[in-house]
């Protein structure tokens, strides 16, 4: 047993200085989601969700590809690792591949990360098998391209232009290369549906694509397509969390309004100092940094 060569001066740093409030909020959000899943599983069919426009067009897009005998392109984003975003993208792609498998439409699933490639290959293989057409599955249609951003973009742009894809689906994490892909596909007249978790790229997809899922419609997509209780339930849980945060914004508005018209007392200044966030010496009233909720989310905790 190794001797401890140190002395603990303070335990539970992340719970100190109001940190527990942040932890509790996170736990509460987790609780909402789990509770939503629990309820939805118990009472399947009780949840309805609003229409998500771009998703209704998947069949149409794949259908057009079938007519023209040109391939369908899918890109599950440029996640830096195998993460939930890529998994979600592949879940959506599974239903696209299913349609493509039925109509014997060729597919191109181009991957940025090798681990995503591995999962994508498994999923594609499974889909063709469950549809009963394993011989239509071309191993080379699911590919790893490159894990360098612009080399990937160059290769995808080249594939789009060479194969004259009829439909293109971009789902997941996209960065600056979004427009390179989308404009090239637009040049060959492809129907494009995009959904990205990087909202900074959404405007470029809006400009170049036919349908764009905004924000977390991306996460709602699999629930919308599959109508599974678990997915619907977690969506409801997230909805409740959003409503709670909206309520919080109103409460915090009132709290901060009253805080802003009351001058700082010396005790308060001392308190701020003790908490590791001293205010300026000649400061009379709290600024944005000292407003309660803003402040507790930024206190250094060891």
């Amino acid at each position: 047993m190794a001797e401890r060569n140190y002395e603990i001066t303070s335990l539970g740093l992340q719970y100190q200085k109001w940190g527990w409030l942040l932890v509790i909020t996170t736990v509460a959000v987790v609780g909402y989601i789990l509770w939503g899943i629990f309820l939805a599983r118990r009472k399947a069919g009780s949840v309805t969700i609003r229409r998500i426009a771009g998703l209704d067009q998947i069949d149409e897009a794949v259908g057009r590809a079938t007519e023209t005998a040109r391939p369908v392109l899918m890109v599950p984003g440029l996640s830096g690792a195998l993460d939930g975003i890529a998994v979600q993208a592949l879940t959506i792609f599974a239903s696209i591949i299913r349609t493509a498998a039925r109509f014997a439409t060729p597919i191109r699933l181009l991957n940025y990360h090798p681990a995503v490639f591995a999962v994508a290959q498994e999923i594609a293989k499974d889909v063709y098998q469950t549809e009963g057409v394993p011989d239509r599955y071309d191993v080379d249609s699911v590919r790893f391209v490159s894990d360098r951003q612009f080399a990937f973009a160059a290769a995808v742009a080249g594939t789009i232009r060479r194969d004259q894809v009829a439909a293109a689906f971009y789902m997941g994490d996209f960065f600056a290369e979004s427009l390179i892909m989308a404009e090239n596909a637009n040049m060959v007249g492809a129907i494009q549906v995009a959904a990205t978790t990087q909202f900074t790229q959404t405007p470029f997809f809006i400009a170049a694509c036919d349908y764009v899922l905004l924000g977390d419609e991306f996460y709602a997509a699999s629930a919308y397509l599959g109508r599974e209780p678990v997915l619907l339930g977690s969506l409801v849980g997230a909805d409740w969390a959003k409503l709670t945060f909206m309520g919080f914004a109103v409460v915090a508005l009132i709290v901060h309004s009253f805080q802003s018209i009351r001058p700082l007392t010396d005790e308060q200044k001392q308190y701020f100092k003790d908490m590791g966030t001293p205010v300026l010496e000649d400061q009379e009233y709290p600024t944005r940094n000292e407003f309660f909720f803003n402040w507790i989310s930024k206190i250094p905790r060891g």
């Binding site: 999962v119 894990d147 080399a151 160059a154 109103v250 309004s257 989310s297």
Partner: protein, 250 residues
Amino acid sequence: MLAQSVFTSEWWRELLSPDSRWQDGSLLRITIGAILTLGLYSLLYRENKFYRFTEHIFVGLATGFSVVALVKEVLWPQWWVPMLGVPERTATADMPAVPGVDAAWLWGALLPLACLAFFVFSKKHGWLSRIPLGIIVGLWAGQQLNAFQNRFLPQVADQARPIIPGPQTGIPDAINNLIVVITWIVVLSYFVYSFEQKSKFLQRTSLMGRWLLMVGFGAIFGTTMMTRFVLFIDRAYYLLIEWLRLGAQL
């Protein structure tokens, strides 16, 4: 400067001169980069053999570099060196000292686990690849609680501002703050999926939310355009000034 441009014999002599050919920033090396740049630019006209050639070079180099980086930055320092250790060496006249590293040979056990991923190509044992992949995605999932708390909660907290005009907040500030909060709430309401949007009010706010989102997206578009154009101007400088020397350098 034009005296040395591509239209003069000096330029060609410098390009072909044997002495400084491979030095940093030599004309020959710039020429290689410039030709590759033009290869990628040719995509703007149409897909062609020149582009295809450049693209395949690009992908080859990029993947090769990923392999190099993997060995250099991950496998060697994170796995091989900790596994086999390094004997300590004291400094001599012409060799610097090397600190010793103990050999944690247990790292060897990681290799078969990682290699399970290669079963993805096997029909019979394909499921084994899910073990390393599952570990990776599980590790990602576990981090998300922390990420949510540290990334999103401060943003939520930041939306809360005072709306009563006071000593620090003037009337314009108060109005702005109100707009900020309302914008935030209205946009968030667009992303509520499961509540039947039968009421006219909810439909209105939801539509408002979409419009406000477009304001945000338009702002992103506007700021990004500048940056992207400057990137191209920088490339044009590289091609026309640094390579062809058609004008004065900075």
